[in-house]
Point group: D2
């Protein structure tokens, strides 16, 4: 078994009903560079991304949501190998008929509940214009002077009505299952964190308690500097972007998280910290947190008492959240309301 058919997350396409405002968010607040525009889409790149023509594609749409997630194969052979594996198990998977900016031929497939994915090998990068060249040769682009300038696309976290099925699908194409969250009482999985690199996760999967299928929870970008990560919260504040959750420590993945909703409606994470785990896939036992036997603070180690209710229900596309669902979340928390008194 190997996790090396896929090298890394290549790019993510986000759909937005407000393309101009969404573009403003990524360029003016996160200091990403626009590398190309066409009729329907804007392509952006962070300053610290190697060998990729772009990492974020924003496309005008009627509603927010995930367009697709794109992965880079480890080699031309690995692309063929993964394509043939997928074709044998999924009749809908197919070589793409679209030519996408910056990449060669690509194979398209979907997760078991319809999240669109593609994988490719060949890429074409355009020459960096002089004004974007860094003074540091090992830096793909000039570092912008922005407090919240993000260094690179980090990971994508899907909402799923069936975490187990989606997790097993990605494991079948070589993802390493680093961490999981289960409820032994309810016999369900509520979260899974998988990687193709040494990161804690390149792909997150969270249970969508609304029951909707194929939604997006968030796309995460890496903040390079814990000082900027924390003081940069003020960048969102000063520019009218509400912070939904964080700054906080997630116990699971041991990461620093901060979530905002971009003007188009998609949730974006500004991510920092977390671990690297280079343990070979053949020697790795996933770290599993059972929410029914856990006394600790697995979701929110600090930063707030609980995961925000909206973080558990809001995704894109947006769906109605039933009162019953909201009540059940609130009910599950009543026991915790006096956390300040734990010292007694």
């Amino acid at each position: 078994m190997t996790n090396h058919l896929i090298a890394h997350l290549g790019h993510v396409e986000l759909l937005t009903p407000r393309l101009a405002e969404t573009t403003w968010f990524f360029t003016d607040l996160l200091s990403m560079y626009v590398v190309k525009k066409d009729d329907r889409s804007v392509y952006l790149k962070c300053w610290g991304e190697f060998r990729t023509p772009f990492s974020l594609k924003l496309s005008q749409s009627t509603a927010p949501g995930l367009g697709h997630v794109a992965w880079r194969a480890e080699s031309a052979e690995d692309l063929e190998k993964i394509a043939s594996m997928l074709q044998s198990s999924d009749s809908a998977a197919h070589w793409s008929e679209n030519s996408e900016y910056g990449r060669g031929k690509a194979f398209e497939f979907s997760s078991p509940e319809g999240h669109r994915n593609e994988i490719f090998w060949n890429i074409t990068e355009e020459e960096t214009p002089p004004q974007l060249k860094s003074k540091i040769r090992a830096r793909p682009l000039k570092m912008p002077n922005g407090l919240m300038a993000v260094r690179r696309l980090d990971h994508c976290t899907l909402f799923s009505s069936d975490v187990k099925a989606v997790r097993e699908f990605y494991q079948s194409i070589g993802f390493k299952y680093n961490e999981g969250v289960i409820s032994s009482a309810q016999r369900i999985e509520s979260g899974a964190f998988l990687a193709v690199t040494g990161q804690s996760h390149d792909l997150g999967i969270l249970r969508d308690i609304t029951g909707a299928k194929g939604r997006l929870n968030h796309v995460a970008f890496y903040s390079n500097n814990v000082g900027s990560w924390i003081e940069g919260c003020d960048v969102f504040l000063e520019n009218g972007i509400s912070i939904e959750m964080g700054p906080m420590r997630h116990g699971i993945t041991d990461s620093l998280g901060l979530y905002i909703i971009e003007p188009g409606g998609n949730r974006i994470e500004i991510f920092h910290g977390s671990y690297v785990n280079y343990t070979p896939i053949g020697d790795w036992t996933p770290i599993i947190t059972d929410v029914d036997s856990e006394s600790g603070r697995f979701g929110t180690a600090w930063g707030l008492g609980f995961l925000a209710e909206t973080w558990l229900t809001y995704g894109t596309p947006i769906v109605e959240v039933s009162e019953e669902t909201k009540r059940s979340i609130r009910k599950s928390r009543e026991a915790y309301t006096h956390f300040a008194y734990e010292f007694k």
Copy 2:
């Protein structure tokens, strides 16, 4: 009018029913140095405090709470001047009969609702033992190797059933009124932030909605480094100390706050950021936030949706909080529950 009778906050005495555990908290987690112990008390100092024999006195008691707050006069003459001002207005104010470690004669007085204070001029510092000497001559003590090592005592925040009365009292002895929080609808003051230095506040006063008098909300210590301030949250986590509120940005005072309850039960803030305001007292108009006309995020600019309920009710000594009080806090918040959707 002058704010220069008092030079700075000298020390705070905290009462604790668990002296050993409280001392552990300040030495092992906040990396303060014990400079003296006697039968009932432990005296501690931070590494960055100039000309003070200690800044925190911990005294064994049956319950947590504030012993007293001690201020250093600007000069010997100013001590006499303030004493004579206070004696003429308050028959209970008097020259102290106690000799306290490290200071000369002191004048004792109380706030309008009984918070004990003293003011002194002369101090005696003992020679720094060799192992505590810093390699930097301008550093009072060796900087400890602790992620949450605090540099100095920053401020003390009182709970008060009558913020206006307590505020006006401190203004009468020269404090500058930097910021205030009022409710024009309820015709009450709910917060006041006063300074004798260029800090945003050396003294905070918060409305105690339980109606109790003379309680302590918190004592704050300054964290020297925003990176340690944020990653240091894990120091509390790893050592079983629950973070009650934060990390967060307070809109009022523009500060970074983080609150924990030390094992004796007193609330401690790890404080960073905030402004300096050197505007002369004669040209300063307090910044007043009216909670009834304010649409912004004055208490919690980011970090969580609201000030934690316990932060508004829990103080030391501990009093019972009525269900009605809790309900009224929760009621006032219902309008805010969907803050994640502000972007719409």
Copy 3:
């Protein structure tokens, strides 16, 4: 004796032969706001400055240098008091005949070797335009999204051919002498750090070993965040601004320093850390470092082996540095070249 005649450093005027480029440096790299322009000058302000119409004035000139340093009096009475003190000792000191943007009547005087100063009381601030208003009421202006956005003017450091004379002059008008550097062997003072606030220094004085009089060493701005302070070095790098010295720890003043030369030729410090010292002036004994008996690292506690040679000789206006002067600096350092081996 009191240090309270003067409240704080009000603004600094810098002369520049390249006004456009110098303005670019302060607006595009340090994220300061231009609040006014006239024929010859540009007036700028940082986001965190209270009650001041501006803090930096840039004026077109044939050569770089200090225009003047402006101080705010503690009160109208204190302005008169200081004016009358100065008039009695210096026949050239006089009430200003110039009306400066934003301030009322001012008294002009010079240091013993000609650095121009003024002091004023009345100020006029213009209404903040809506797009510069902060979401935080206690924040004077909107915090910019810049990694190197400076919060406020911090201090001004003069070069002087006679440190003692200049130091004693400022002490005579109420400055507190926090720290000094002397050579007992040479019987000279080589540095003095004085304050009117709780800062380590609002005014620095460094010996100008070229023998020139009345020059400027640097003007310092406060960086709000140690993470930005260090990663922000890359902002200078990416924009072709050479870092002359730092990032480093100064032993004296216990501060984090970083020096760049702005395009007009003046040295600017990005300053962070340092101590606050609220000790009353009547109880303060200056911390004196004697370079002849000191084994420690007083200038550069870490960051580099020595103070950069240029930092000791380059000032504005620029003067020729003799080969003998350069040789004498290099000679004094020969003993230190193997500092890496101290552990032996």
Copy 4:
């Protein structure tokens, strides 16, 4: 071609003539945990290391230096594969006859100039004692309360008299060649940075201009937090450990570096930042800096004018550095002495 035979750097053995003092350095300053001691050696581990019994072995010796570097294979099969590759090319390479604490069978080999290496697959971790368990399940050990607590072993940098030969050797067993430094005029390589993970380098190779073979330049540990990385310099200062070079930005590898000599004499780097580069090995063209055509600041982008002379000559074991070598370094720098004036 694949870089996946080796999963990651497993541990490094350092030789020290002062085992107690070296152990103090790693435990008291870097907050590493001692996991085992035997007659001659101490085994240590950082708080953030997954699936490794230890990452640093300190062994008593007559002189400082590198014991060996140990790599973990990607799988049992990959261990056999690499062993058979090496046996066919190097008659001295062999299966180890030593049983090392915590690992199963291992294959020993040397670099072309004698740096000792081993590679293994099986490991045995002991149960974590309760007092070292973290409250965060995904954290291998409790995070210590240390400003300079390092999260994990990062990389090892060898000195080599023939960089090209050593680089090609490691490439032959699957290392990816991320960056190199050459002199086209002298027709030599002076540096190479290679990785088996997504890091900028797991292995560095630097030209040893003394001509010695098989020495160590440094071992690097990762600091988790840029705030601690910079303020933690004071931990070394306060404890009498001289900082040889840094804090600085290396242009090559785009990393933040800080070098100290531990009491046994070996150079240790506290490392932060740098890039991750997930580009597949089959699509990667090394970034080559030619020192003869480069006008930029490749070694030291900021932090000091040049790489410290000792950093280029001092390694372990220690050898005599000829006066000619020192002169040639100084000569090469004369052109740079006025870097502060670049703005002109």
